[in-house]
Every structure is written in structure tokens, then in C-alpha cells.
Assembly symmetry: C2
Homo-oligomer: 125 residues x 2
DNA sequence: TTCGTTGTTATACTTATCTTATCACAAATG
DNA sequence: CATTTGTGATAAGATAAGTATAACAACGAA
């Protein structure tokens, strides 16, 4: 999978990595059991430090997206806690929906936006 | 409007303020033309520094939620740029939907989540 | 005018986070 | 054996966040 870093972004490098990997999992570019590149490999690929990659992996582990195997490195392993996930998503969505509402985005348009992204992701479920 | 700060949160204080004010606008607790508390007042109310409040107001101004009047302070004034707003929302939603999808949240459940929040906000449009 | 309040700017300091760097170690692979 | 793995310790620099104090012009009210 192609991972690219925007050094001009105000988003932290390790968060850019985290988000891209999560989107990679969602779009099946990474599947349960797949190994991520080693921290040193990925660091070389995108041109950043090993520890920054390690930080991204550590976050992904804490959030239940990967598990770390001594010999296989970071392996995609989703730990599903639906209730907790929903609570987290709700908190983030509240701000996003409020922002949209202020800018005259209707409820219907928001639903359309969701669908557009799902289409973008290729008919994901 | 009641504004509260969680000092234990990992979210920056000025972003907590920004988000709460945006949600306040969305829920009509603040309406177009209303004045926000002065930076010094709000700083005293929530127990933080004046400049942290000022930073929140500056961000709200840059994002088109308030305008600043010399005599009236920060006044709610929404600058609607729908295309830009949609682009921004999309970028944030992509990560959120991916996160949900990984955790077995279906498209339908995501739509339900949206509706729940709208209900929470009191039948907002 | 005088007094108080407004947003704004400037400076300085502390603290925390982010990122890089270098070194090292045990465990596993070949 | 040599190499690569994740992980840890430690140090350093850079940036962001937050506080503190001071000052200014503009405005409202006394």
C-alpha cells in the first residue's frame, strides 16, 4: 500500500500514518493477519524517523487495530468493542455535524456525504 | 451559555472552547449577531488565561464563525462557503467512517448515528 | 474629561508534544 | 553466525500550548 506524508500539513506525522493505515484497513488494502512494514522499513520509505513510525504503531495497537508479534512485526488484528467505538465516533461527529449545521449543511446533505464517501471507498460495508 | 473545560482532556484548551462554541451556535444557544463574552470575562469564568481564549476566538474568526467588532467584541457572524465546508467535512469524515468500518459499524448504523445526534440537538436542520 | 472595558499586540517564560538521533538489547530468522 | 525484528533508554532540537505581565488605541458611560 502506498503511504505518503505531507510535510506541509499541520497534522502530526504519526497521526497521518495512523489515519492512512486505518483507511487502508477499511478499504481492504490491509486485511486481518497482514503484516505492516517494519518500523525501520516504513521510516525509510516515507523519509521520517523510526520512532515516529513506532509511535503510530503504538497508537494503532492501543486503539485495537494491530497486535505486535515479535517475529512478524505489527499485524492487522481488529479488536472490536462496538459500544466504545460508537461512543468515540459520536463525540467526534457532534463537532462535525455542528460545524456543518452552522454552514447550512442540511441533515440530508450530511447523509449524502456519508454515502459519497462509502462509494469512494468502493461499496464498502 | 455554559462553557466548561476539562483539564484532564488531552484536547487543547482553545480547541475545547472552539468546539463548544460551534456546538453552541448549532444549537441556537448563540445566534447570529450575539456577542460572545469578552476574552477576559470568559477566561475568568472557566479559569484559564486570557490569551488562550483569544486564540480560540481567533480560530473561530479564521474559520468564519465570528467577526470581531471593536466595541461589541466577538460577534457571531457565519461566513458560509459551502463548497469549502463540504471539502473539509469530507476529509474528516473519511477517517471517521474508516475507523467505524474497521470496527464493524455498518453504513446503516452510521446513518442512524447521524440521526441520533440530530435528535440530541433537538430536531435541528 | 475621567474611568473602565474592549480587542489587540508584544515580550517572556514554562511546560508539553513532536521529531530526530544514537545506542543498546533480547528474540527470532536465515 | 550475521541480520532483522520490536523495544527501551537517553538526549537533543523544534514546535505548540499555556501562562504572565504590560501596554496601546478605541469606545461607552460617568
Amino acid at each position: 500500500m502506498v503511504i505518503e506524508i505531507d510535510f506541509n500539513s499541520d497534522e502530526a506525522l504519526y497521526l497521518q500514518l495512523r489515519n492512512q493505515i486505518i483507511m487502508g484497513i477499511a478499504t481492504s488494502q490491509y486485511q486481518e493477519g497482514d503484516s505492516l512494514p517494519s518500523v525501520r522499513q516504513l521510516a525509510d520509505m516515507v523519509g521520517i524517523n523510526m520512532h515516529t513510525v513506532n509511535k503510530a504503531y503504538t497508537v494503532l495497537k492501543q486503539e485495537g487495530f494491530v497486535k505486535v508479534d515479535r517475529r512478524r512485526g505489527a499485524v492487522i488484528a481488529i479488536d472490536v468493542d462496538k459500544l466504545q467505538t460508537i461512543a468515540e465516533l459520536k463525540k467526534e461527529l457532534r463537532v462535525i455535524l455542528a460545524k456543518g449545521s452552522c454552514k447550512n449543511i442540511t441533515r440530508e446533505e450530511m447523509h449524502e456525504l456519508i454515502d459519497e464517501i462509502y462509494e469512494e471507498y468502493g461499496g464498502l460495508e
